[in-house]
Amino acid sequence: MHEADIHDLSDDADYAAASKQGSSSMTRNGSSKHSASSDQEDAEIVYLKDNVTIHPTQYAAERISGRLKLIKQGSSLFMTWIPYKGQSSNARLSAGDKNLYTIKALPFSEIQSIRRHTPTIGWQYVIIVSSGLAFPPLYFYSGGVREFLATIKQHVLIVRSSEDANLFLVNNFQDPLQRTLSSLELPGSLANRIPSSSGSPSDGNLENKHTSEDGHSSSMQRSNKQKQKGHDPARDISINVLEKFSLVTRFARETSQLFRESLVDGHGPNEKRRTNWASKNHQSQEMTSNDVESVPKNVPVPSDPLEFDKLSLVWGKPRQHPLGLQEWSTFLDYEGRIVDPNALKKRIFYGGVEHNLRKEVWPFLLGYYSYDSTYAEREYAVSVKKSEYEKIKYQWQNISPEQAKRFTKFRERKGLIEKDVVRTDRSLSFYDGDDNPNGMSDLLSPMEFEYEKTLRLWEVLWTHYPSEHLHLYACIAILKRHRAKIMGEQMDFDTLLKFINELSGQIDLDRILRDAEALCVCAGENGAALIPPGTPPSLPIEDSSIYYHQDDEVL
């Protein structure tokens, strides 16, 4: 893009300025001799992308664009993201606000995972988790997520999670035994997913090594070191938790605000929203013209590609009939590959899948088969997984009672399965037969919705179309349906609890899905940006331990 030239000049200066404006612990690296630019003799920029943007709030005017770089120094890879200076579109943000988000020389030895998000609508973005903290989503306005990952792969050990094709694990050194054991862990124990071996002890070594190798400590390393000095994991976690709480609160507040504006007021769906945007733009232009230091209009923030759709959208689209066998075959090429996975997901989102076809289609939605696999490859994959299954089964069957006594997690899980198996509802044909899936009975039991509706809801959510968090919008849609009653009767807490509990079996699924879609499309990028990083998607990843590596177009 043409603005790249302009920023070539300001970028490194920005970096130095940002360092100076940082907290006092950061200013020590401001010695001009060792600014980032003078390190370039031994630091090589291996990737550079402009217009990588974060969305701190729902408001487009507050987005912060910047430049993302991967820098290779010695045997280490670092990542930086520096916001542009004086961007007209975020006049409302102070320099301090911007620096808050600056990523200064983050070494990859500290990064645990990178999650790629490829929403069907809107920009691709990645969420980087480092030392247990998730950075804000980085939206690639000018594309380049693939190159980003591919570049990283050339320099760092990075593997794709077998459970989630979009999750890339960095520095994952789990040994096979640990993997097997962790697969026996109860779901939801986060601590076991992130191996401690990839944590800070190794970082320390790495850092020392560099200092001695290079003979001097570069500003990048120094700022890294300083960051680590004040690094108390417990504090990080509590900050993380607090941050998430604040984000949830803000999300709730701002989305409800968003929906009120766009849906509930008397102006019709989008009238008022448009007006607000208009006045906001007007306001920021005014501010820009008074602000001498700002670089005017040099980084145009591209408009949301679906803005027009949003405005023209009146309400959720009608639901379709479920996908049948004949139509299904049109999605496959002669060797059995799914030609257009997005079209398939979209189709399933709007209509679901006929029951007898679920056995064939669900494995794709659930990531068991990759969309570009052939019939033959799938057959092979199944045989591999079968033998793995047998191996694991053999392992747990051979845990002696003595071993089990010391192995609490194993005991707990075994007890859980034993209880669940006898408690599955035999009146449902689904539980007949020997292939009854264990440990899922509470989820499979048709409580909230009828049986068929439950399966429909699942497959629709699994498509992650139009959002991987559609379940949140579905919840909002349900509440919205009953808004008048909940607000009107001024329910106290227990009454509200009872009321929500009694909605079981009373929810019109198609209607809720339609509303959820409309809410989601209407909230658009702004809504997505408000969902705190790390919020589990509709199809959550319970266990990211790796048994096998999928082939990947990037890796």
Binding site: T57, L186, P187, G188, S246, R250, R253, E254, S256, Q257, R260, E261, D265, R411, E412, G415, L416, K419, D420, V422, R423, D425, S441, D442, S445, M447, E448, I486, M487, Q490, M491, D492, F493, D494, L496, L497, K498, N501, E502
Partner: protein, 200 residues
């Protein structure tokens, strides 16, 4: 919270305990007089109400039967919040479930209402031959922690009505009505919400 009419008392009661200890079975026996050998797992929580006459007072229990699986743990505070009574259930044939019961007691002592009437129920008392937790051990624990203790069997109905009866008797009678613990939802004008978000 227990609230009184003239001779009526409404009391929120919550059942907590390990999965498969028999919480739902106890409630089902108490409310409907039924027992299912393989009671389905509870999802989230189930609500029941049942009225008992104790002396000259009618006690209406509003019962929240919670799901025992660990994955639902985070929902529990919603259900024990403001409860006048709790029954912590374990399975006498499972030492792990007794450990879990103690954890629930601790959590209630920390987070729950200080005047809460707490009962410890050692359920499945009919399975004497598989017993792993002695009544003595449980009673000693209950005494130490100010709970009252009964061994129950939802299957044979032993002590089921009794435990609810005992709770009803122990509920404080003349408790002043407290503010309902809850949030007040107000339909605020949109501008107010926006102003608030600017400062955050």
């Amino acid at each position: 919270m227990a609230t009184t009419g003239h001779n009526n008392l409404n009391a929120k009661l919550v059942l907590l305990g390990d999965m498969g200890a028999g919480k739902s079975s106890l409630v089902l026996r108490f409310v409907k007089g039924q027992f299912l050998e393989f009671q389905e797992s509870t999802i989230g929580a189930a609500f029941f109400s049942q009225t008992l006459a104790v002396d000259d007072v009618t006690v209406k229990f509003e019962i929240w039967d919670t799901a025992g699986q660990e994955r639902y743990h985070s929902l529990a505070p919603m259900y024990y919040r403001g409860a006048a009574a709790a029954i912590i259930v374990y399975d006498i044939t499972s030492a792990d479930s007794f450990t879990r019961a103690k954890k629930w007691v601790q959590e209630l002592q920390k987070q729950g209402n200080a005047n809460m009437v707490m009962a410890l129920a050692g359920n499945k008392a009919d399975l004497e031959e598989k017993r792993k937790v002695t009544a003595e051990e449980a009673r000693a624990y209950a005494d130490e922690n100010g709970l009252f203790f009964m061994e129950t069997s939802a299957k044979t109905a032993a002590n089921v009505n009794d435990i609810f009866h005992e709770i009803a008797k122990r509920l404080p009678r003349a408790q002043p009505t407290q503010n309902p613990a809850g949030m007040v939802l107000v339909d605020r004008p949109a501008e107010g919400a926006r102003a608030a978000s600017c400062c955050s």
